[in-house]
């Protein structure tokens, strides 16, 4: 053994192990004495109210619950995390131990990073626990699809950034007012940043509360027929990673021992962090609403995500089957019951649809934050004909209960189905108007209702002329079998406009 071989190789290994053991011990101590642990019940309670409660009120669709969770989780954790981090950052000054810890073997940067890491660890543990509960319950209720991890990852990336900002505030301004100030400022910045969003090309979409076009609320039609676009999520995570690194780097920059290498490393980290955050903001500004209702960022976009998701529809056992995306299985009984009266009226008629099938919506950016959603493609296609429709839940608007959805579906799709079969339209013949009105009456549908997007408009928005109304009432009074038999023989002529009111039975 030579002098070169033995001691020189052994000492660094021992030193490294010792450093790691000491760092782990310090982290353990910080974890045991961290204020964030005491804030977890507060954060969990807020999560229950703002994220869990809200998500559970929505239908068991992964897209709705995951996007709702991203927003709710950040709102719930912002105040406790930023406040607790500021509280921990001001600990040395608050306890008048700054001089005492300055002379310990641990350098300032190591102490600060350990305290921040412990605070972030507690926040992350609490957050992951909350997400696990919400996703676990959703997994039991959802009928199709799987968890969306991008929204969960964005919220997770936001927590270290909030923690770093609060911690920096507490370290730099150690006062009893810093913690509440940091908590309020974090909430203010988070909640009100979205007010400045105008259109899909806004830089403010970098706000982690944004999961799609702002101001349209949760939309069940997004990320069901097409994959969830991670473009905006990637930009948001990049922003938060950059912000965290920049803040921590800036915190380690000022005075204290450590030498030039530490300053250089901290300055580099700060610059890199700022660059990443700035780039992410610029990328968010290039985003635009795509046809599937999500924000696409050209530089981050993967064309694979534009392909539709393959699925086997779930269908009812009715004469004319009603088929839905399997994610909407829970709606199938209600949708079938809502459309059954009208489907019974038209079943077996020439030209009647062989199937009613749920379709994807297409989205268009309007003025400001307004967005238009409509049926993608024709309402009737294929041989035998398939009638394609949107569920009211796929349209932009407030969330619906299952019964409200069924009522809205009957009011919008029912008249459209009748109009599609009879050829009823504003320019149709009086006989077509009368037969359509009769079928609507027989099926218990409203005589006037808003048209389903992309489908044939309703027959008449005003009252029908007296002769037409009389003919419709006469036709309705027929037994269902007689009505059906007449339609089987005369529907083609009726659609061609060759039947007069007098020829109606």
């Amino acid at each position: 053994m030579t002098a070169v071989r033995a001691p020189a190789a052994a000492r660094p290994v021992h030193a490294t192990r010792g450093h790691l053991r000491a760092a782990a011990r310090l982290l353990r101590l910080e974890l045991r004495r961290n204020a964030m642990a005491w804030m977890l019940p507060v954060a969990a309670g807020l999560f229950w109210l703002t994220a869990y409660h809200k998500a559970m009120a929505a239908p068991p669709l992964w897209n709705l619950r995951a996007t709702s969770m991203q927003k709710g989780a950040l709102v719930a954790f912002a105040c406790p995390v930023a406040g607790a981090a500021a509280w921990m950052g001001s600990r040395e000054a608050r306890r008048h131990t700054t001089d005492l810890v300055t002379i310990t073997a641990r350098p300032r940067w190591a102490r600060l990073l350990t305290t921040w890491a412990a605070t972030t660890c507690w926040a992350m543990m609490g957050y992951l626990g909350c997400v696990a509960v919400l996703y676990g319950v959703t997994a039991q209720q959802a009928t199709w699809g799987g968890p969306l991890w991008w929204p969960a990852a964005v919220a997770a990336a936001g927590l270290p950034a909030l923690s770093a900002l609060g911690f920096a505030a507490g370290t730099l301004i150690p006062s009893r007012f810093t913690a509440p100030g940091a908590a309020i400022a974090a909430f203010f910045a988070l909640a009100l940043s979205t007010v400045l969003i105008h259109g899909s090309q806004s830089y403010w979409q970098i706000s982690p509360l944004v999961t799609g076009p702002w101001d349209i609320g949760p939309d069940a039609g997004v990320a069901t027929f097409y994959p969830y676009l991670p473009d905006l999520s990637i930009a948001q995570m990049m922003f938060f990673a950059g912000l965290t690194i920049a803040v921590l780097g800036a915190l380690l920059l000022p005075n204290g021992p450590g030498g030039g290498w530490l300053r250089a490393a901290a300055a580099t980290a700060t610059a890199a962090g700022l660059l990443a955050a700035g780039t992410a903001v610029a990328l968010a500004g290039t985003g635009k609403l795509d046809a599937h209702g999500m924000i696409a960022i050209p530089a981050l976009h993967d064309a694979v995500n534009d392909r539709p998701v393959h699925y086997t529809p779930v269908c009812s056992g009715t004469t004319i089957p009603v088929c839905l995306n399997p994610a909407y299985t829970s709606y199938l009984p209600a949708a079938t019951a809502a459309l059954a009266p009208v489907l019974n009226e038209i079943a077996g008629l020439p030209g009647a649809p062989a199937r009613i099938s749920q379709a994807a919506a297409t989205y268009q950016q309007g003025i400001g934050n307004s967005v238009r959603a409509s049926l993608a493609g024709p309402s009737i296609s294929g041989t035998p004909p398939v009638l394609r429709l949107l569920l009211p839940d796929q349209l932009l608007g407030p969330g619906m209960t299952t019964s409200a959805l069924a009522t809205a579906l009957r009011a919008s799709a029912g008249p459209a189905i009748v109009a599609g079969v009879t050829g009823d339209s504003p320019g149709a013949s009086p006989a077509q108007h009368a037969v359509a009105a009769a079928l609507r009456m027989s099926a218990g549908l409203p005589q006037s209702s808003p048209s389903a997007p992309g489908m044939q408009p309703p027959t008449a928005t005003g009252p029908l002329p007296i002769p037409v109304r009389s003919a419709a009432q006469r036709f309705t009074a027929l037994p269902a079998s007689a009505r059906h038999a007449w339609l089987v023989h005369h529907l083609a002529a009726l659609r061609a406009g060759r039947i007069t009111l007098a020829q109606l039975p």
Partner: protein, 226 residues
């Protein structure tokens, strides 16, 4: 020097009746000043002023309905948190044992700061479109201050900010549910109720009264070493 030889202060320090009458108010003011300084009341007033200025500046901007409604709440929560953290005592047990006037001082400090916050925030909204108006400010501020004081009694003065800031999130969420059902209509979430709602006002007043009573009688739960 023994106890027997020690000079008796009252006989030498009270030259006349006029001086005896003048002494207690001056001492009382000094006691009040020292108590306020120990609780960082001047800094709290500065924080309240900052909240009022922040609200005034924010009101200059153009906000949508939802933003305009939650804006005052954020600053009210800030002021309430500032009041709550002033309850932390740096003296702890010795002060509790010897301070005969301590409950009155606590009450006076909390009431004075609440009144200052109400005045400052109301003044900040004067001449601008303050959603909910003065009544809303008074109700929300009183309620959140009560929550902060209760938190101070339960958690300690320096962590008392957790109450108002957590309630801020609850209040903002309550406001949001008015647009996005299911709506939360309980009067205990008073920020989500209209300014003239009696139930919400009663709930906020109740919380404020209980908070004041508890903090007056018991003070904040602060360890002496803090």
């Amino acid at each position: 020097m023994t106890a027997g030889t020690a000079p008796t202060v009252p006989t030498t320090a009270a030259p006349g009746r006029k001086a005896q009458l003048a002494w207690p108010p001056r001492a009382g003011i000094r006691l009040l000043r020292l108590h306020a300084a120990s609780r960082r009341a001047p800094a709290a007033i500065a924080a309240i002023a900052a909240c009022a200025i922040g609200l005034r500046i924010a009101l200059l901007g153009h906000w949508n309905t939802y933003g305009a409604l939650q804006l005052p709440l954020v600053f009210e929560a800030g002021a309430a948190a500032a009041i709550a953290v002033t309850t932390a005592s740096p003296l702890g047990e010795p002060e509790r044992l010897t301070g005969r006037w301590l409950p009155f001082l606590r009450l006076a400090t909390a009431l004075a700061l609440t009144a200052a916050a109400a005045g400052a925030l109301t003044a900040a909204g004067t001449g601008a479109h303050l959603a909910g108006g003065t009544l809303d400010v008074l109700r929300n501020l009183a309620g959140m201050t009560g929550i902060g004081l209760l938190c101070a009694a339960a958690l300690g003065g320096r962590l008392a900010w957790a109450g108002p800031t957590a309630y801020l999130v609850v209040g903002v969420y309550g406001l949001q549910t008015q647009w996005h059902p299911p709506a939360l209509t309980t009067p205990w979430i008073w920020p989500a109720r209209p300014p003239h709602d009696l139930g919400a006002a009663i709930c906020a007043a109740l919380v404020f009264t209980i908070g004041m009573a508890v903090i007056t009688a018991r003070g904040a739960r602060d360890p002496a070493g803090e």
